[in-house]
Amino acid sequence: MANLVPVAKTTGANRIVPTISIPYPLGDPKTPEEEQWKLRYSRVGDALDALETEIEDQKVFQVS
C-alpha cells in the first residue's frame, strides 16, 4: 500500500493499492475520526481483496 505508485512499480511490487498520502497513508488528520476509520477499513479491505486476486502482471488495484 503506497502513495507513490510509480515508485512501488519500479521496485517490482505486483499487487499495489494506493494510499492517500505519505505522512498519513490511511487516515487524514484533517478529517473527523469516523471518516478516517472508514477510509482505513475500506482501503485495507481493498488490500485483502487484492491478496485474493490472481494477476498476470503488476496491478494497481481500484479503491472502493
Binding site: 505522512p23 482505513r40 485495507v44 491478496l51
Partner: protein, 351 residues
C-alpha cells in the same frame, strides 16, 4: 551568455522552512533564491526566477501543483530549466522529475536535474529529463549544482551530440547511431570482444540489455479466512523507546514488535508507538500510528472472520535513504521470519 534559466527547489532549499513547511504551496520569486544561488555560481546565463514548492504539497497534490507552476511560467521568457539538486530525498526527487517533465513538454526547453542514484526519482524520470548523478546530502550542493550548471552552459552553446557516457548523466534510454571517430569497423570490434570474453577479460557490450527489475508474482490466496496475515511497513513505526535502534534514515536494521492482545496501536503520547522515519512529517503518525500500520483495521477483519488470524508481530524498518541492497537483505530476512511463523500473506505499507 545571454540566456535565462528558471530553477525549481523545495521549501527547505528555498529557505521557507523544514519538514513543518512541507505543505507550502508553489510560489515563484525573482532571481536566484536560496540554494538556486549554487546554480547561479556556475551558470553562465542569468537565473531569472526561482520556483519553490513544499515536498508534501507536491506529493499530495501533484497535478494541481504542476499545473499552477506551468501557469506561473507562461509569461516568463526562459531558455533552460533546472530542478534540484535533490540528493537522496525521494519526495524532492519525484517533485523535480514531475515538474521538470511537465516543463519540458510544455515549453520545450532543456531540463536538467541531479539526484543520488538511490533516489527513486532517477528510474522514474531519467528518460524524460537529464539527471546527473549526485551526492547523498546537501553537503554535495556545490558539486552537484556545478555539474548541472556546466552541462546547462554546454547544451545552450554547443551543437552536440552529447553522449551519456561522455557527459555523465544517467542513461535516458535514448540510443542513436554514432560514427566512431577511430573508424574501427564492426568486424574488428566483434572479434576483439570475443577474444576478451573467451579469456575472461573485461569488455563492454555495445548494446547493454536493459535489466527489468521484476518480482515473481505470488499466487493469490484462495481463502483469507484460513490464513495468518501479517503487517510489514517501511514507515518506521516502533515502540516508544526504539529498542532496536533502527536508524531514521539509511536503515540497515529492522524490528519485529508484539501486538498480542492489542486492538490497535497506542500512540506516542500514551507511551505506545511512534515513528522514527526522518523522511516525512511525524505528527500524524505519532498521533495515530494506525494510520501507517493499520492494526485496528486488521483486528476488525480478524474478528469478522475475513482473515484467519493477525500475526502476533508486525515488522518494520525505515524506507528513507535505505539502499536497494540493504532493503533487499532486510526483506529476505523478514520473509524468512514470516515463513517460520506460518504467515502466508502480508500487507506492506509505505510512506
Amino acid at each position: 551568455m545571454d540566456k535565462k534559466a528558471v530553477v525549481y527547489i523545495n521549501q527547505f532549499f528555498g529557505q521557507i522552512g523544514g519538514e513543518e513547511a512541507a505543505d507550502h504551496p508553489p510560489e515563484i520569486q525573482e532571481g536566484a533564491v536560496g540554494a538556486a544561488q549554487a546554480l547561479a555560481a556556475g551558470f553562465e546565463g542569468k537565473i531569472s526566477h526561482t520556483v519553490i514548492c513544499g515536498d508534501n504539497f507536491m506529493s499530495s497534490n501533484q497535478e494541481e501543483a504542476v499545473s499552477r507552476i506551468l501557469e506561473m511560467l507562461e509569461d516568463i521568457d526562459f531558455d533552460i530549466f533546472f530542478a534540484g539538486p535533490a540528493f537522496q530525498a525521494g519526495r524532492y526527487g519525484n517533485a523535480c522529475g514531475a515538474v521538470g517533465k511537465a516543463v519540458k513538454e510544455e515549453f520545450e526547453v532543456p531540463v536538467i536535474s541531479s539526484m543520488n542514484e538511490e533516489n527513486p526519482g532517477v528510474d522514474i524520470f531519467k528518460k524524460d529529463i537529464y539527471i546527473f548523478p549526485g551526492g547523498r546530502s546537501g553537503a554535495k550542493m556545490q558539486e552537484d549544482a556545478g555539474k548541472m550548471a556546466r552541462f546547462g552552459n554546454k547544451i545552450l552553446k554547443e551543437e552536440g551530440p552529447f553522449p551519456a557516457d561522455e557527459e555523465g548523466f544517467f542513461k535516458r534510454g535514448i540510443r542513436h547511431q554514432y560514427f566512431r571517430p577511430d573508424e574501427k569497423p564492426a568486424a574488428e570490434r566483434a572479434v576483439e570482444m570475443l577474444l576478451k570474453k573467451m579469456k575472461g577479460e573485461e569488455y563492454t557490450s555495445e548494446l547493454p540489455i536493459p535489466e527489468v527489475d521484476r518480482v515473481e508474482i505470488a499466487p493469490a490466496i484462495k481463502d483469507l479466512s484460513q490464513v495468518k496475515v501479517a503487517l510489514v511497513s517501511s514507515g518506521g513505526i516502533v515502540p516508544i523507546d526504539n529498542p532496536d535502534r533502527i536508524q531514521s534514515a539509511s536503515a540497515t536494521r529492522w524490528g519485529k514488535y508484539s501486538i498480542s492482545g492489542m486492538d490497535r496501536l497506542d500512540n506516542r503520547s500514551s507511551q505506545g508507538f511512534k515513528t522514527i522515519h526522518a523522511g516525512y512529517d511525524p505528527a500524524a503518525a505519532d498521533d495515530d500510528p494506525n494510520r501507517v500500520v493499520p492494526v485496528d483495521a486488521l483486528r476488525k477483519y480478524e474478528s469478522e472472520g475475513r482473515i484467519g488470524e493477525l500475526h502476533d508481530y508486525f515488522y518494520v524498518t525505515v524506507g528513507t535513504g535505505t539502499t536497494v541492497g540493504e532493503a533487499a537483505r532486510m526483506g529476505r530476512e523478514i520473509a524468512q521470519d514470516l515463513k517460520d511463523a506460518g504467515v502466508q500473506a502480508v500487507i506492506l505499507t509505505s510512506t
